[in-house]
Each structure stands twice: as C-alpha cells, then as structure tokens.
C-alpha cells in the first residue's frame, strides 16, 4: 500500500511535467493542442536516437530534445493563430490532423519499432526502509519537479510570466494594456514544445515509445489541465499527484490492463462534473473575466 502511494506520487510528478506544456497552451491561447502527446513521443524518439548514438545520460539529453522541438512549437502556433472560432473546438480538430502528420512523420523517420532508453544507471532500485524505489522513476520525478520549479519562477517572477498570466485571464484586456498577446502566444507554444521534448526523453526512459503512443499522454494532459484550471500552474503538480495516485491504486485494484481506460473514465467524469465549462476560469463559449 505504502509502495503504491509512493510510486503513484512519483508518477504524478512526471505527469505534471507531461501536462505542463498542454496546460500552458490552453491557458494562454485557449487552444487544446491535441498533438501534444505526439510531440512528447517525438521527444522520446529523439532522446532514444541521441542516447543510442552518443551514450550520454538521458538527463543531459533533455535540453537537447527540448531545443530540437522548438520549430514544432513555432509551426503549431502558426496554425493555431489562424484558427477560426470557437478555438477550443477548431484546435481540437486541427490538432488531430497535426497528430496524424507527426505519427506518419515518425513512422517514416524511425519505423514502427518500440524504443526504450534502457540506461543502466536508471534501472537499479533503491531501498528506503520498507519500500523499494526504481531509480529511473525517482530520477524522472525529481527532474520533473526541477523543471516545474523553474517554470513556476518564470511564470511568477518574469515579465513574460506576467504577460502570459494576464493573457490567460483576459486576452482582450491584456492587449488593451499593451501586452503583445500574439508574441506571448508564440513564446508559450515554443516553451510548450520544449517541455514536450524534455518530458519525452524522460518518458522514453520509463516506457517503450512508438509512433501511435501519444494518445494516453494527451489524455493525461487534458485531465490535469482541467483539474488544475486556467493559469493555475501550481495546482498542476497537485493534480498530477492526484491522478498518479488514482491511477496507481486503480491499477493495483483492477489490473494493469485498465490503466488507459481508467484515465479515460476519469476524463469523462471530470467533464460531466464540470457540466459544460472546460476548466475553472473558462466558460464554454470563450473567456471568463
């Protein structure tokens, strides 16, 4: 039981990183980037490729994969800013298209093989009293916490962070106050792509990646973004840990085959409980004040 709680919490920290880019994009641009999962998988493939080629530690490859995905963020933003209203729905649809493109691109580049960064430094387990921890999971959780801490500082202590939060609260008012909301949206998408690349490398150390593997990741991202609400980055971590616990305990009770179904069910009940609005601070039709 204690073991399950600890691994659930570790998984949750990692989930918070997985969802961070998606949640940022939703907050600032009101777009549901359905290709977020595929972007993470692309980061994972890139990480595997670099790791197999260079033998560098996966943690050092995170910034490389993050930088490599920046053009993807640029491209997605170029698409998103041209979408007609209602943006939640059109971004969902266009994001589906981008996800298909990325899947085929990865298939063409890397084939359909399952890849795992099986770094020997990450496979050993640590014993802490009654519980044993997989070093890879611990490292992923710690790296995720570190990135989220940096993100939190960036959002609360920098000019960009203030602009992003103002745009998330009310795009029109932010524009009236002299904030370049288009630029803020672009930097948000660039950051979101970088976060996807970095979390992809971590993902590839924990799970096998394959071109069609983005679905469960984007489902997790949607659940966390809905739970955390608009412009509430700190609650993303709490939401991640909560989902990690729900998933780990649910899987321990039902069996490992139910993992993805469980997340889908959580998504469904979250939507039903919200009763029409996507997330706190967001109405069905557009912005809340």
């Amino acid at each position: 039981m204690l073991q399950a709680l600890v691994s659930g919490a570790l998984l949750g920290c990692f989930y918070a990183l997985v969802a961070s880019g998606f949640a940022l994009t939703l907050s600032v641009t009101r777009a549901l980037n359905l290709a977020h999962g595929e972007m993470i998988v692309a980061g994972g493939y890139l990480g595997y490729w670099l790791w197999a080629g260079s033998g560098l530690g996966p943690l050092w490859l995170m910034p490389v994969a993050a930088a490599a995905l920046l053009p993807m963020g640029w491209g997605v933003h170029a698409l998103l800013r041209r979408l007609p209203e209602p943006r939640e729905l059109t971004s969902l649809t266009a994001g589906f298209g981008v996800a298909l493109l990325l899947q085929d691109g990865m298939r063409a580049l890397w084939g359909s093989d399952y890849r795992l960064i099986a770094d020997s430094a990450l496979t050993a387990s640590l014993r802490l009293g009654p519980i044993s921890l997989n070093r890879g999971r611990l490292a992923a959780a710690l790296a995720a916490l570190a990135v989220i801490a940096v993100l939190w500082v960036a959002l609360t202590r920098t000019r960009w962070g203030r602009a992003a939060r103002a745009t998330a609260l009310d795009e029109e008012a932010a524009a009236l106050l002299g904030i370049n909301t288009d630029l803020t949206g672009r930097t948000t998408l660039l950051l979101s792509a970088a976060l996807a690349g970095a979390s992809g490398v971590l993902f590839a150390t924990l799970h096998y990646v394959h071109p069609a593997g983005g679905g469960p990741l984007v489902m997790v991202s949607i659940v966390l973004a809905l739970w955390a609400g608009i412009g509430r980055m700190r609650s993303l971590l709490a939401a991640g840990v909560a989902l990690g616990l729900v998933e780990t305990l649910g899987v321990a009770w039902l069996g490992p085959g139910w993992r993805e179904t469980l997340v889908a069910a959580v998504l469904l009940f979250t939507l039903l409980a919200r009763g029409g609005s996507l997330a706190r601070g967001m109405t069905a039709g557009g912005h809340a004040g």
Binding site: L79, A264, A265, G276
Partner: protein, 309 residues
C-alpha cells in the same frame, strides 16, 4: 437541397448495377468499405446538424460490431444479428447523450472521445465475453450465392448508406431537423420556445449511434473478425469527422461523397505510391478544411457563441 433526392436515386441505381456489370470481388469489397465509411460520415453529420461534434463515433461502430459478432457466433441468424448491432449502437448513442446532457462544443467532443476509449478498454479487458485483445474470430459469413460472396455485403452496405442518406434528407425537413437547428443556433431560446433540447439531442444521438452500429455489425460480418484495436480504433472516429467536414456537413450528399472519394483515392492512389504516409492526405485535408472552409466548424456550433467571442 431539392436536387439531393434525385441525385441520390441516380447514384444508388448506378451503384446497384456494378456487381451485375462484373466488377471483381476486390473492388466490390473496397466499395462496400467505402459505403460503410460514408454511412459513418453521414451519421456523424446527423449529430453535427444539432451542433454536436463527436470525436467518438468509433464507440458506436465498435459496440455495433461486437453486438452483431457475439450474436452471430452464438447462433443468431445473420440478419437478426445485424439488427441487434444497430440496436446496440442506438442504445450506446442514447446512453452517451443521456450522460453528456449538459455538455456541448469541445467538452462534448472530449466526452465522446473518452467514451470510445472506455469502450475499447472494456473490449480488451472483459475477456470472458469479448475474447480480450485477440477479439472474436470465425464470425459466420453472410448467407448468399457462392458464386459472388462479396455481392451480398456490397448490396447491404449500399442499402445501409441509402437508408442513412434518406434519413438525413428526411431529418433536414422534419420536425426533428427544425428542432435540432433551433437548439444548435441557440439552445436557451429554443427551450424558451417550448423545444426540449435534451430530448431532441438524444434522438439525434440514438439515430447516429444506430446507423453507426449497423455499419459496425456489417463490417464484422464482412471481415469476419472483430478486435478492440480494429473496431474501437480512433480511426473510425476520425474518418467521419474528416469526411463530413470536407464534404460539407449541412449537405445530404457531401459527407458521403467525400468519404467514398477520399477513401478510394487513398486506397487506390496514395497507398500504393507512399505506403508509410497513408494518413498524411487525410491529415492535410482535415487541417485545410478547418482553416479554409467558409463558416468551417464554427458554423456548426451555433451563431450565438460565435457572436459572443
């Protein structure tokens, strides 16, 4: 709109002659598959008529396929099994609508997506009933003349598509279509005028689910195997969305014509040329449709919301 019934009759008559004209079985199978996708696209636009965008038609397709397959391997006559598939699809549609009563727009789209994923999970994990990840094999073939085994499935798929298109044409002119259009344009005002949005939305979902379920049941008997990743695949949610968006969801023939055209183009032209990139055509078409179609998806979910944002 007035040209639709005439065009529909002409196209159906033309298609009905093809097996007699000696089309090889492979092409009959290809066309029958295209008709099933066209049925899905048209069933999707029944929902879109009321402003409901579904990302989860695979749920109804899969439920129909499994219901028909299970009935068939337990000795039910094929025809009855197909009807059962349609009924199961309709029940699934009604269930989704009843659960997601208060949702619209993006939340509804995400909820239907989750429903399809849950259906897939149940099909994988309820092994005693569904055979788990391997699915159900050995579904009996449809009865018919041994000389042309594909022709029966072909005619059934054509019949199903014709029924679906007729229902769409009828719906667009009926009380149901009017009520759904009123709900789409402004649900609040419609309910003030005495239209009960929930009941009409449920009708649309049950209709759309039933037709998609019938397509799933027929698919199960054509391919004679069902598996979670086969019939609950996100593919069957995506294709109707893409085809109907491209073909113009407010038109009777547009979604079906786009489905048949795109599917045949993809299978006969794109697939042999670039086998690894078979999704690229669909993906680019979808993105282009969202970006450039006049009115686009935005036109589908009601004026009120557009004006507000």
């Amino acid at each position: 709109m007035s040209a639709s019934p005439a065009g529909l009759v002409a196209a159906t008559a033309l298609c009905a002659l093809l097996p007699a004209a000696g089309l090889p079985p492979y092409y009959l199978h290809l066309l029958a598959s295209a008709f099933l996708l066209a049925t899905l696209a048209s069933a999707w636009s029944l929902l879109a008529w009321g402003g409901q965008i579904s990302f989860g038609q695979a749920a109804f397709f899969g439920v129909g396929a499994y219901a028909a397959a299970l009935a068939s391997i337990h000795g039910v006559v094929s025809w009855a099994a197909l009807v059962l598939g349609a009924t199961a699809g309709a029940a699934a549609g009604a269930l989704v609508s009843a659960a997601a009563l208060r949702l619209s727009g993006a939340p509804l789209a995400l909820a239907t997506f989750a429903f399809a994923e849950i259906g897939r999970g149940i099909a994988i994990n309820w092994e005693r009933l569904t055979g788990g990840g391997a699915g159900i094999v050995g579904i009996p073939a449809l009865p018919g003349p041994a000389s042309s085994p594909r022709a029966v499935a072909y005619y059934l798929a054509l019949l199903l598509l014709t029924v679906t298109l007729s229902i769409f044409v009828w719906m667009a002119r009926s009380r149901l279509g009017l009520a759904l259009a009123a709900v789409r344009d402004d649900a609040e005002r419609a309910s003030l005028l005495g239209v009960n949005p929930a009941a009409w939305k449920l009708c649309a979902f049950a209709l759309s689910g039933g037709l998609s379920g019938a397509a799933g049941g027929l698919y199960a008997h054509m391919v004679r195997v069902v598996a979670p990743d086969l019939v609950f695949s996100a593919w069957y949610s995506l294709v109707p969305l893409i085809m109907a968006t491209l073909g113009g969801p407010r038109t009777a023939l547009g979604p079906a014509a786009a489905a048949v055209g795109l599917y045949l183009a993809s299978e006969l032209v794109l697939q042999p040329l670039v086998p690894t990139l078979h999704q690229v055509g669909y993906a680019l078409a979808l993105i282009a449709a969202v970006l450039f179609l006049p009115g686009g998806l935005g036109g589908l979910v009601g004026r009120r919301r557009n004006a507000a944002s």
